[in-house]
């Protein structure tokens, strides 16, 4: 279990997150939803330890994350930022091998096991044929798969993804969500920031709804996803129907 207690973040005098308390259920897919600027990305960064101004406590299986060093933390928890920088000329295989960093010495020499892991995740993400291609020459969908492969090579129990579907077309969005589901079946706990509420309901077991730096609701989509919540959080008039395919709630804006 990932517990977050009394987490607050202030940026230049402005409170971005205020006294958050929440629990990320282990072995599930959790979606983080909320309007733009509500603090979703900030929350992910604060969980992963990437923010100095964060106060409060993040504990993973009883261990205080702030007491771990960088590599120890990177062996428990991985995070894919919203728009990571793709360096010029780096091949898919090189990018994926960066995911092994928490297990390597400062010199970065990969062992046979590390190599094997890299090959395995490249295969798993369907990138075998693109392994030697520079990442910056790939299409958006392929590129996102390469980043996911890097995160998988990091081999952490918890994976945080910040808006992984944002720059993808619908087909690739669904492909990515299916990939997330697969990762979950292999035992990973995922936290995903999503904008598409219907995808969030369809693919995720647990919703965390945020508004203005605070948690508005957290539970399974069946329990909390209703028109009152949408009105309150997104200021959107919508009707909720049952998704006939996934048998999950689904919203239709009015």
């Amino acid at each position: 279990m990932l517990h977050i207690e009394n987490l607050s973040v202030n940026y230049t005098g402005k409170t971005v997150l205020k006294d958050l308390n929440l629990t990320i259920p282990k072995g599930k897919i959790t979606a983080l939803i909320g309007p733009n600027g509500c603090g979703k990305s900030t929350l992910l960064k604060a969980i992963s330890g990437g923010l100095k101004s964060a106060t409060g406590q993040v504990t993973l299986a009883g261990r205080d994350l702030s007491r771990l060093n960088h590599k120890e933390r990177a062996r428990c928890l991985s995070i894919l930022p919203q728009s990571p920088i793709t360096p010029e000329g780096i091949s898919v295989q090189q990018l994926v091998s960066f995911g092994r960093n928490p297990y390597l010495s400062q010199w970065g020499r990969l062992s046979a096991e590390d190599d094997q892991k890299v090959q395995q995740v490249i295969h798993q993400t369907g990138l075998s044929e693109l392994a030697q291609r520079p990442v910056d020459t790939l299409s958006g969908g392929q590129r996102q798969r390469a980043w996911i492969a890097m995160i998988l090579a990091q081999d952490t129990e918890y994976i945080l993804l910040d808006e992984p579907t944002t720059y993808l077309d619908l087909t690739h969005q669904i492909e990515l969500m299916e990939m997330i589901r697969q990762m979950n079946k292999q035992g990973k706990t995922l936290v995903v920031v999503l904008h598409d509420l219907n995808q969030a309901c369809r693919y995720c077991d647990h919703l965390i709804v945020m508004r203005q730096g605070q948690i508005s609701a957290q539970d399974s989509p069946d329990k909390i996803f209703n028109s009152r919540l949408l009105k309150e959080v997104f200021e959107l008039n919508a009707m909720i129907i049952n998704d006939p395919v996934a048998n999950k709630p689904m919203c239709i804006p009015l």
């Binding site: 930022p81 920088i85 793709t86 780096i90 010199w107 970065g108």
Partner: protein, 324 residues
């Protein structure tokens, strides 16, 4: 042999070839026979070869390596194509303090120059870093601040030289960088720094690769980005400063060498570092050889020649750079 090894072997042969040319040519041309017999048993040309040309070749190669590695580290951390020790005021700071020390105490032992230059280089780097911190940092802003600070420091050097007229050749070193009159004595203050810091930069190479993904991603992958930045920038400042202490600001080597190396061998720092070091050594050595041979017995400063190559390239980078 892989493409990479071929490139390194090619660069190395070129460097050896150039060293030989540098040994034979100059105000007084020497025959193969004289050079060989002098190297083995001394003789007539002993002064020219052993005291004059040979140390210059070594110092040119060492400063080329130092400036290039310093440039690789700076660009690796700042992720800015315009970043380099001379454009960021580091060379200016190092030059100013070394020059000041020499004007106050002309008879000072030259082993004091590197520490003095380090002090100046670090102060300039710290100033630029604070300036960048205070404002919203952006690559363009950083480059502009660096150029402004460099110009200011150079004008301070000019002012000092006007106040204390010295021999033109020694003054030239602090203005444009030259290897004029650099003897074996100058190798000892330089060598220990390179022996420690060049291998250390290899130690940082893998982390610098990760750093190219951005601080956020690198941090998530377990890189202590803050520690890496401090270690790499401190090494870069130290390398550039000691090189400046020995032969002034040989401009644009720290900018050009990493770029050329990247173009040749890709973006892995483990591969860039040796390639850039070779390129840097080639640049400085060819600049110095040309400087001695263009109009003998007069000598041009080597820094002028690297600027002839570097300035147009810098303008090309500015033109291509879209981050304004």
């Amino acid at each position: 042999m892989s493409r990479y090894n071929r490139i390194l072997a090619g660069g190395f042969s070129l460097l050896l070839f150039l060293s030989l040319i540098s040994l034979f040519s100059g105000a007084q041309s020497l025959t193969v026979k004289t050079v060989i017999s002098t190297l083995i048993n001394g003789g007539d040309a002993d002064f020219i070869i052993n005291q004059y040309r040979l140390p210059r070749i070594f110092i040119a190669v060492l400063t080329g390596i130092g400036l290039a590695v310093s440039g690789v580290l700076t660009q690796g951390i700042i992720r800015n194509p315009l970043a380099s020790p001379d454009l960021m005021g580091i060379s200016g700071g190092a030059g100013l303090s070394a020059c000041t020390v020499l004007l106050i105490r002309p008879d000072i032992n030259i082993s004091w120059l590197p520490p003095a230059a380090l002090l100046g280089g670090f102060s300039a780097a710290l100033f630029i870093w604070l300036l960048n911190r205070w404002h919203n940092p952006s690559p363009a802003r950083l480059a502009l601040a660096g150029i402004a600070v460099s110009a200011f420091l150079t004008s301070c050097i000019n002012f000092l030289l006007v106040l204390h007229p010295v021999e033109v050749n020694s003054a030239m070193i602090w203005l444009t960088g030259s290897l004029w009159g650099r003897s074996w004595d100058y190798i000892w203050p330089l060598l220990p720094w390179l022996i420690i810091l060049v291998p250390f930069s290899f130690y940082l190479a893998w982390s610098l690769d990760l750093c190219a993904l951005g601080d956020e991603t690198a941090g998530a992958l377990g890189v202590n980005t803050q520690r890496l930045q401090i270690m790499a920038l401190a090494s870069a400042v130290a390398l550039a400063s000691v090189c400046v202490a020995v032969c002034g600001t040989i401009s644009f080597v720290g900018l050009l060498a990493p770029h050329l190396a990247r173009l040749l061998v890709g973006s892995r720092h483990k591969l860039i570092l040796p390639a850039a070091a070779l390129t840097g050594a080639l640049l400085v050595l060819s600049a110095d050889t040309l400087a001695r041979n263009l109009a003998p017995p007069l000598e041009l400063p080597a820094g002028v020649l690297t600027a002839v190559l570097g300035a147009p390239y810098f303008i090309f980078l500015l033109h291509r750079y879209k981050g304004w």
